[in-house]
């Protein structure tokens, strides 16, 4: 028989306001096994915890029931308290009489009655509790970073600097991500390449970092400290270790009309290509969709000109399986497709472009070598209209666009407008905005500079329509301050497209069993207190995969994610949750039902000898649970017809006792 102590918390007036705490303590005194019962203003306070510790010693308690807030809040606290007093922490149960009682019911009699019943259920459960001891699992001291943009690079560098090996998996032929495509960065206007490319080189040269470019994650198994990940290294038909990146193949390749994705299709590349001059790894890649040799066996020019002999048309995708202790998701973002925004004529006119395309047009390494010209005729634009919030802040029911604010558009549009006026003072620049959102260090100052020093016309209102007419783009917009409808003949219209998570994020989340919100952004473990951790243990979040972010925010989150990873990897062992499934071999049928429902592959079978009553020996197949792998969901316990499988901490007997106590 257990000796149970009951501790009823007032939580100030949070509980005591709707629950007669004395009555609860009094009523629970008569429950089977209860030898001590009391109440106190704040059980979680030092004084409250001392009451529990004293009672455990004075009354030789074997079990503790705390009637208080949600176990999600203070179960850990009270377990620690118990263990400080020498009681096994798993002998503590919480009756949730705040969130699920005092806060949702209005009158004292109802609240008190329910609190007593909830307390009774907890006492019934503790009566059947058994001491549990956490196990241990080894931590593989290697991290995986998925995504090689600035977020992934920064996370990898920080982890590597702490001395742990890191793999970066990047699906493109080079790392660098979106930042590599940008021209200048707000609000300091330093050039993106100047600050990013040294980091890319650092990553490539860091002996703790292995870059798996042109690769994708295919399968994820295992658990925190011990993930097993299969990575598909796509065939690039060039031997990465031999290629010197000289570019001779690119020069000779006769397939010249391949849309260049790095410049968003505004110019062409060859079938064999290096995305950009500072690519890391600086290795050529053959595009199998365009290469004549790969498509129909005719050509082979690149192999002939390659002095290193790096071209290999027979290369196949390679599957790499590696073990990791931690995984960082840094899959980033993409601008949304503008196909649905007919009113802005994005698909009708070449001179209506997205902001990312504008970045490439003004980038010295871009298709026009940094000269801002109209994509249609190469002429210098004199009137440029920027439209903000294209697809951002849309109603959830609207078919196009996203509900959220994309966060970065206000600032980069201010940057674009300012730089245009700076370089081409003869241009008129209009920015149509709904609100200008500039919360960030030196952000508003930057925006004001665009207006005050550079004379950018900021117009409060939206563009309703863009119609291409001959050489010009007729822009019809409203100016809400003056109450006029404006008609502007523009030469170039730039749309600040909303950003969305990369399409690879959703399937990846499924593989990682990490949760996502309705917009496909990864969910953090706690929006305020654990912003870089996914709720799935061992999975961390870095950059825009978690929500729209600018570069400084991304970098700081990347560093934060890295420090969390380092904190995990420095441990040699993790204590495992002892609330795991356990198979009673005497009752196990060996039928495999549990094995088939286990999402973690924690169950295996062995043949075991059993001594029968007649002294004969029988060999039976029985299930065994690996406690380090089991996460304690309990799916197996229901699949098991004989009830041989049970879950520590949530045994069938305990749950039935709770049911009985509630239904008494």
């Amino acid at each position: 028989m257990q000796r149970i102590g009951v501790f009823v918390c007032w939580c100030g007036s949070n509980i005591a306001g709707t629950v007669d705490v004395h009555a609860v303590a009094e009523a629970l005194k008569t429950e089977p096994g209860v030898v001590f019962s009391t109440d106190y203003q704040y059980m979680c306070s030092q004084a409250g915890q001392n009451i529990i510790k004293d009672a455990i010693r004075d009354y030789r308690l074997t079990g503790v029931v705390v009637c208080s807030c949600s176990p999600r809040m203070h179960e850990v606290t009270f377990r620690k308290t118990a263990s400080q007093a020498g009681l096994n922490p798993y002998m503590v149960e919480i009756a949730n009489i705040r969130e699920q009682c005092s806060w949702v019911h209005k009158d004292v009699p109802t609240g008190t009655e329910k609190a007593i019943i909830l307390g009774r259920a907890a006492v019934a459960k503790v009566n059947l509790n058994a001491p549990l001891t956490p196990g241990e699992s080894l931590v593989i001291k290697r991290a995986l970073v998925i995504g090689g943009g600035i977020a992934g690079i920064q996370t990898a560098l920080d982890i590597a600097d702490a001395g742990f090996p890191v793999d970066i998996v990047e699906k493109q032929p080079t790392i660098g991500g979106k930042m590599a495509q940008l021209d200048k960065t707000f609000p300091t206007l330093d050039c993106a390449a100047c600050i990013l490319t040294p980091k890319m080189v650092d990553a490539a040269q860091n002996e703790n970092i292995r870059i798996l470019s042109y690769s994708e994650v295919e399968k994820v198994g295992g658990f925190v400290g011990n993930f097993e990940v299969t990575i598909r290294k796509k065939a690039r038909y060039v031997k990465e270790d031999i290629c010197t990146g000289c570019g001779a193949c690119v020069e000779k390749c006769p397939m010249k009309k391949v849309p260049n994705e790095f410049n968003l299709g505004m110019d062409n590349r060859r079938a064999v290509y290096i995305p950009f001059a500072q690519a890391v790894p600086k290795v050529a890649t053959i595009d199998p969709n365009y290469c004549n040799m790969l498509k129909n066996g005719k050509c082979g020019l690149c192999a002939r000109v390659c002095t290193a002999g790096a071209i290999d048309y027979t290369q196949k995708d390679e599957l790499i399986t590696e073990k990791y202790g931690a995984i960082v998701v840094a899959t980033g973002y993409n601008p949304i497709s503008l196909d649905k925004f007919d009113e802005f004529a994005y698909n009708q006119s070449k001179d209506v472009i997205s902001s990312l395309e504008f970045e490439r047009l003004t980038n010295a390494a871009g298709p026009t070598a940094g000269k801002l010209v109209r994509p249609s005729d190469g002429k210098h634009p004199h009137t440029i209209v920027f439209v903000q919030c294209v697809g951002s802040r849309c109603d959830a029911c609207a078919e196009k666009g996203k509900e959220y604010c994309s966060k970065i558009c206000c600032m980069y549009t201010a940057k674009h407008a300012m730089l245009t006026r700076d370089k081409y003072p003869d241009t008129e620049v209009y920015v149509f905005y709904i609100d200008v959102r500039t919360p960030g260090k030196n952000f508003d100052e930057f925006y004001r500079r665009a207006v005050e020093e550079y004379g950018v016309h900021y117009v409060k209102g939206m563009v309703g329509k863009v119609s291409p007419e001959g050489d010009t783009l007729k822009v019809q917009a409203s100016d809400l301050i003056s109450g006029k409808q404006l008609h502007i003949d523009a030469d170039l219209v730039v749309l600040a497209a909303a950003i969305e998570p990369d399409a690879s994020a959703r399937p990846l989340a499924t593989m990682l069993t990490a949760s996502m919100d309705t917009n496909d952004f990864f969910t953090e473990a706690h929006p305020k207190l654990r912003p870089v951790e996914s709720p799935t243990a061992g999975v961390f979040l870095s950059g825009a995969c978690q929500g729209p972010k600018d570069i400084p925010e991304t970098v700081s989150q990347a560093g934060a994610a890295a420090s969390k990873v380092i904190g995990l990897l420095v441990k040699d062992k993790l204590t495992t949750n002892p609330c795991v499934a356990q198979s009673n071999e005497l009752m196990c049928n060996g039928c495999s039902s549990c094995e088939l429902v286990c999402p973690y592959g924690a169950i295996t079978y062995i043949d075991k000898e059993f001594r029968m009553p007649d002294r004969s020996i029988q060999i039976r197949r029985v299930a065994q649970v690996n406690p380090a792998v089991c996460q304690g969901c309990g799916a197996c316990t229901v699949a098991c017809p004989s009830g041989a499988m049970d879950l520590n901490g949530f045994k069938s007997e305990q749950i039935i006792a709770e049911v009985d106590a509630i239904c008494r």
Partner: protein
């Protein structure tokens, strides 16, 4: 009357025994009465000669006994499997319950089995039953002239919707014709579904109130093969022998049906052995019908190694809240 004779089977078994190919033979022998044919283990040709029975009352599904015997006996066991029994055999192989190496499986074509309960319904004090081509002559204490009951009238419930052979690798198959099925096995389930809830409740109350918890259904069921039944296990939270706890007494059948759901081959043994004539197969068939219609047709034991529906899922599965509307739509 069976088209394959008992002599054929016992002769086959005896020769294998004598040749040392098998050490034991799992078959049937006569119990107290002519209609009471029970499973039996034979160790010699002489025993077979003396006791082996194969007739319309050899209903018992022998596969379940193989769990016990493949473990406790050393040496190969010959087992006779009727077409319906092969499903149970397959299912037990899938669940790793039988050591296939120790079994010599012989498939026996079946011409349909007789339901002793149907015969006894109209005849008290049966002294003997003799088989004819068309049916059975029932001799009783109270009449000199035997009464006649036709094979169709006495046919066992499960034979009305015979499934034929499972896909199975038998060691040997006796040639012969299998009784052809005719009825839709879900007719009664659908009829019940179309009743009002009150009607259904009264139907089941009437049936289940007769249960005496003799556990015959559990003991005969080839899916109920747990090392220890939850209802016998003090740690399951539901164990109780006496009726002090009302749970076990009343919910036994639902839980039993749930535990075999997706594994039940619909062999009908539960209803056959129930001394209170409770149509327990209607619970199992309800689950089978639901599984077939919600998740696609599935026959337990049809193929060895197939994944049972309850240890499987599809991301697009029907929601529990949609089940009734969906089925009402199907039945309408």
């Amino acid at each position: 009357m069976q088209k394959v004779t008992a002599k054929t089977l016992s002769g086959k078994a005896a020769s294998l025994l004598n040749a040392g190919e098998v050490k034991y033979v799992l078959g049937w022998k006569k119990g107290e009465f002519d209609y009471d044919i029970t499973p039996a283990l034979f160790e010699s040709a002489e025993e077979l000669e003396k006791d082996f029975v194969w007739n319309d009352f050899s209903c018992a599904n022998l596969s379940k006994y193989l769990i016990k015997y493949t473990r406790s006996l050393s040496g190969k066991i010959l087992v006779f499997l009727k077409p319906c029994d092969t499903f149970s055999f397959n299912q037990l192989l899938t669940e790793h319950r039988i050591d296939r190496q120790k079994v010599y499986a012989v498939g026996v074509p079946c011409s349909g089995m007789a339901d002793e309960k149907k015969i006894r319904e109209n005849a008290d004090g049966i002294t003997a039953i003799s088989e004819t081509e068309e049916g059975y002559l029932v001799h009783t204490l109270y009449s000199d002239a035997p009464a006649f009951i036709s094979k169709e009238e006495a046919l066992l419930e499960k034979c009305l919707s015979c499934k034929g052979w499972a896909h199975i690798a038998l060691d040997e198959q006796i040639e012969g014709e299998v009784f052809a099925p005719s009825a839709d096995r879900f007719d009664q389930v659908k009829a019940l579904e179309n009743m009002t809830p009150d009607e259904r409740y009264h139907f089941w109350q009437n049936e289940l109130s007769r249960c005496i918890r003799c556990n015959a259904c559990r003991d005969v069921c080839p899916a109920c093969t747990c090392e220890k039944c939850v209802f016998d296990n003090p740690n399951s939270g539901v164990e109780n022998k006496a009726a002090a706890n009302s749970f076990e007494e009343k919910m036994f059948h639902i839980i039993r049906a749930f535990h075999v759901a997706g594994r039940c081959t619909d062999c009908g043994e539960c209803s056959r052995v129930c001394p209170q004539k409770i149509p327990l197969h209607l619970l199992n068939r309800k689950f089978i019908n639901d599984i077939d219609s919600f998740y696609g047709e599935y026959q337990a034991g049809l193929d060895e190694g197939s994944r049972a529906p309850l240890v499987d899922y599809d991301t697009g599965d029907l929601e529990p809240s949609q089940v009734f509307d969906w089925r009402d739509g199907q039945n309408a």
